[in-house]
Structures are given as structure tokens and as C-alpha cells.
């Protein structure tokens, strides 16, 4: 049994992403130095969406990469082997401002793993973090630079983010309570 509460509907997600895009643009004056890296899997769609919005603001395309962090996780022993998705970073991150993207920020362990994984590709000048939902319960000293919405949650609850490309259904963020 589980019940779910609507957190963000499609329009609210769109507004949040537009705001985040402007905040990224405001924070980073030299737009040519900014690259987006989405963490598999939720962050990948986020990177595509924000990439399109930022390209509109800046008037030039923004490089986008995908990062899978399963090989860098610190909890590989505690669970079943995760599915490994491809990592594609078709540009040099050295000297760049990398904006890491994930759909939900929780313990912070994924982000730590992502920063470790990025180190294997080069040395970014700085790394910033953008998330659609910050649900709290951090276990590491990690903080997002750009947040779509802060959602206080209990540990037994789950945040479900559903991005639907090509309009098959509506984008939605829900809070699921496990009874």
C-alpha cells in the first residue's frame, strides 16, 4: 500500500527549470566556460531541458554530458549490483565550470560519487550542483547551488520524478508514502 501526494505538476516543473536556468546564467558570467553533466538517470533529462533553456538565454549551444556513478559508489556492498548506464562526456572538463544535475538530492552520496567520477575525466575549474528536488537527510557535507523545490520528507517516503519526453504523458513530481 502506498499513497502519493503531488509536489510539482508539469507547469510548476517548467517554471522551476526556467528559474534555475536564469540562476545558472546569473552566477556564471562567462557562458563559454559552462558545461552541463547529468547524473544517470534522472539528471540526464534535466541536463537536456536546462541545456535547451540556457542555449536560449545565452544564444549558443551548451555542451551536455551524461555521467554514471555506479562504479564510484561507496555502497556497492550494501545492495544488488546497480545497472550501469553509459557515461558520455564528449568534451574536456579541465578548466570548465561543470554544473552537475540530478533530479533528487538526498544523502549526497550520489553527488560525492559523481565528483569522484568527474575527476577521472579532468580537473574542472569549479563544480556546481543543480537539483530539481532537495528532500533533506544529508549524510555528507554537500549542498546544492540551485534548487527547484525544497521538500521536507520522512525517511520512509519516496520522491518520484517522472519526465516524459515527447509528450506521451505529463511531467510530474510526487511524494510517495510507504504504508
Amino acid at each position: 500500500m502506498s499513497e502519493s501526494t503531488l509536489i510539482l505538476n508539469a507547469a510548476a516543473i517548467r517554471r522551476a527549470l526556467i528559474r534555475i536556468a536564469h540562476e545558472i546564467a546569473e552566477r556564471n558570467e562567462v557562458s563559454a566556460d559552462v558545461v552541463l553533466v547529468g547524473i544517470q538517470r534522472g539528471g540526464v533529462t534535466l541536463a537536456q531541458r536546462l541545456g535547451a533553456l540556457l542555449a536560449g538565454i545565452w544564444g549558443h549551444p551548451v555542451p551536455i554530458g551524461n555521467l554514471d556513478v555506479s562504479m564510484h559508489r561507496d555502497d556497492l556492498d550494501g545492495r544488488l549490483t546497480p545497472t550501469v548506464h553509459p557515461t558520455v562526456i564528449p568534451f574536456d572538463v579541465t578548466g570548465k565550470t561543470v554544473v552537475l544535475l540530478d533530479d533528487v538530492l538526498f544523502s549526497g552520496r550520489t553527488v560525492r560519487a559523481a565528483m569522484d567520477a568527474l575527476n577521472d575525466f579532468g580537473r574542472p575549474q569549479r563544480i556546481q550542483l543543480a537539483v530539481l528536488i532537495d528532500r533533506g537527510h544529508r549524510e555528507l557535507p554537500i549542498k546544492a547551488d540551485f534548487v527547484g523545490k525544497n521538500v521536507p520528507t520522512a525517511n520512509g517516503e519516496n520522491i518520484l520524478v517522472q519526465f516524459t519526453e515527447e509528450g506521451a504523458a505529463e511531467d510530474v513530481v510526487q511524494l510517495e508514502k510507504r504504508a
Binding site: M71, T81, P86, D120
Partner: protein, 314 residues
């Protein structure tokens, strides 16, 4: 996509889904080897033992490098320089290795079922790197990975395995993997080395090499395993070369986009002419490169495999 197994003992017991999981995971690991820093910390602090009771270069080095690229510690154990020579049993040797906190034991042994035997009493994960003439699962996985990468699919392809099938663990593992993934498999070679009984696995058996390779998308050549044959299985090597060797004349018969594969070590001038082994249709060295990615994937997956696993009574 799911992987719950603690061991990789054979292909026969895997589902098509599980094979695809390994191949998908291998694709991600292949990319790691293309980076400037070719190492990830996935198996940091783990100990892997290469327990090779039968000689090997390719497979042992491939597993060794795979473990190192995952940041595991690896110990090589070879039969020649071990207490097996002093009369220690395989069981005791394996138990001793486990007492040193080995997490994964990779075993190659001349006896069929040796990995299954170890898996029954060890807490460590066991990976079969070749057991007698039975199976060589990682070879079949790297072969299917190579085919998938080159052809984009496996289902519906015609794969001809040519040579010593009877004594080949590579052939058995490949047959299982290819059939599960939907390929059509033809076996060809001297009748003594390609018994009709293989038809019961679902393969086609042919003794005419020209006919067997004509419509093949993949030609997988196997070495004659002299070391396993208890008696002479064909009149002479020269007869084998003239009847079954892949030479220039036969190369002209095959499909223009057919791939030539070989698990190595190749015997130039026997199962394959030297110039063909190096021609553009040969993917023999790519198989070696892909072997590393596949073995990284297997080490990564079995390390995460939890819970009890049914070991069939061999």
C-alpha cells in the same frame, strides 16, 4: 535488467536477459578503458585470486587487468609453482585462499565442473575461466559482445563454428549463448570432432566447409585441441588443412560482410591462413580488447550478487 548471481559458472544456466545485462554492463566498462584514467574504484579493497590449474596467457592476463582496472587486489596462482604439486587437494587449496579473505576466485581447471564444485562450499564468488571441455563463459560473452558491437544484433544471424567442437569449451559456451540470443548456429569440422549429437542442442551440423560458410554472417574458428585428444581424431594435419582450413579460395565464397573470429591462440597455417588472420574481416584482436571489458563487467556483477544461488548437482 537484473543480475542476482553470486557466481558465473556457465552460460547454460543463464537467461537471455542475464546475458544482455552482462553485455550492457560491458559496454559501460569498455568506455572506461578509453579514458585517460583507465581505472574505477568499484572493487576497491576486494581481493581477487586467479586460480589457474591449467595454463593460460590471454584469459589470465585479461582477468588480471580487469581486476586492476576495478581497483581490486589480485593474486595469481599457477599450478606449476603450488602445493598442488605436493599433493594438496583442490578443495584445500581453495579453502586456504578463502582463509586469506579472497572475495572472488577465478578458476581454470582441466576437470569439468571444478568451478561448480568450489561454488558449493566457498563463500567467495566463483568465476569459471574454463573447465575442461565443458564451458568458458567469459569467452562466449566477449564473442557475443563483439558480434553485437559489429552487427548491431545477434538474433537471426547465421554463426558458423568451424573446427574442433568436441573438445572445445569455447564452442559449448558459444552455442548456449548464441542460441539463447536467437542466432542460428552451424557446426562444421571432421565428423570425429563434430558428432551429430550436437544437433540435440539445436545446432545444424555440416561436414562440408564450403556449404557451412557460404551464408554465414560470423565464422568462428577454433584451434585443434591436441592436448585434450586421447587419440588421433583425423588422419593428418595436412588433410585437416585442405578439408577445413580457412584459405583464400574459401574466403572468396563467404559473404562480403562476414566477420572472422577466433578465440586464440591461433595456429597460423592450420585452421586459418596467416594473411586471413590479419585481414580487415578479422576481428580477432578486437575480441581481446572486448574481453577486458566483459571481464570487468563480470567481476563487477558477481561482486554485487547477493543471496544464495542454486548450484545444480553436476
Amino acid at each position: 535488467m537484473s543480475w542476482k548471481r553470486k557466481h558465473l559458472l556457465d552460460i547454460e544456466s543463464l537467461t537471455a536477459d542475464e546475458i544482455h545485462t552482462v553485455l550492457d554492463t560491458a559496454r559501460a566498462f569498455k568506455a572506461v578503458s578509453a579514458r585517460a584514467i583507465k581505472k574505477v574504484p568499484a572493487l576497491r579493497g576486494k581481493t581477487v585470486v586467479n586460480l589457474f590449474i591449467e595454463p593460460s596467457t590471454r584469459t589470465r592476463i585479461s582477468f588480471e587487468l580487469a581486476a586492476q582496472r576495478l581497483t581490486a587486489d589480485i593474486v595469481n596462482f599457477t599450478a606449476e609453482a603450488s602445493s598442488l604439486k605436493k599433493g594438496e587437494t583442490l578443495k584445500d587449496t581453495a579453502r586456504n585462499l578463502e582463509a586469506l579473505n579472497a572475495d572472488i576466485i577465478i578458476i581454470r581447471h582441466s576437470a569439468t565442473g571444478a568451478p561448480h564444485f568450489l561454488a558449493r562450499f566457498l563463500n567467495a564468488s566463483v568465476i569459471n575461466a574454463g573447465d575442461g571441455a565443458h564451458e568458458h563463459p567469459t569467452q562466449a560473452l566477449l564473442d557475443t559482445f563483439t558480434i553485437l558491437e559489429k552487427k548491431g544484433r545477434i538474433a537471426g544471424l547465421n554463426v558458423t563454428i568451424l573446427g574442433d567442437i568436441l573438445y572445445s569449451r569455447v564452442a559449448r559456451s558459444n552455442i548456449w549463448a548464441l542460441l539463447k540470443l536467437g542466432a542460428r548456429v552451424t557446426l562444421c569440422g571432421p565428423a570425429t570432432l563434430v558428432p551429430k549429437v550436437f544437433e540435440q542442442m539445436g545446432c545444424r551440423v555440416s561436414y562440408n566447409v564450403e556449404e557451412a560458410i557460404a551464408d554465414a554472417d560470423i565464422i568462428n574458428l577454433l584451434r585443434i585441441q591436441h592436448e585434450r585428444q586421447r587419440q588421433t581424431m583425423f588422419p593428418s594435419l595436412n588433410e585437416y588443412i585442405s578439408l577445413f582450413g580457412l584459405n583464400r579460395k574459401r574466403l572468396a565464397l563467404i559473404k562480403p560482410d562476414a566477420l572472422i573470429m577466433h578465440p586464440g591462440p591461433i595456429n597460423r597455417g592450420v585452421e586459418i591462413d596467416s594473411e586471413i588472420a590479419d585481414c580487415h574481416r578479422s576481428v580477432i584482436l578486437e575480441q581481446v580488447t572486448n574481453g577486458l571489458a566483459v571481464r570487468m563487467a563480470v567481476l563487477f556483477l558477481v561482486n554485487g550478487g547477493k543471496g544464495p544461488q542454486e548450484i545444480g548437482a553436476a
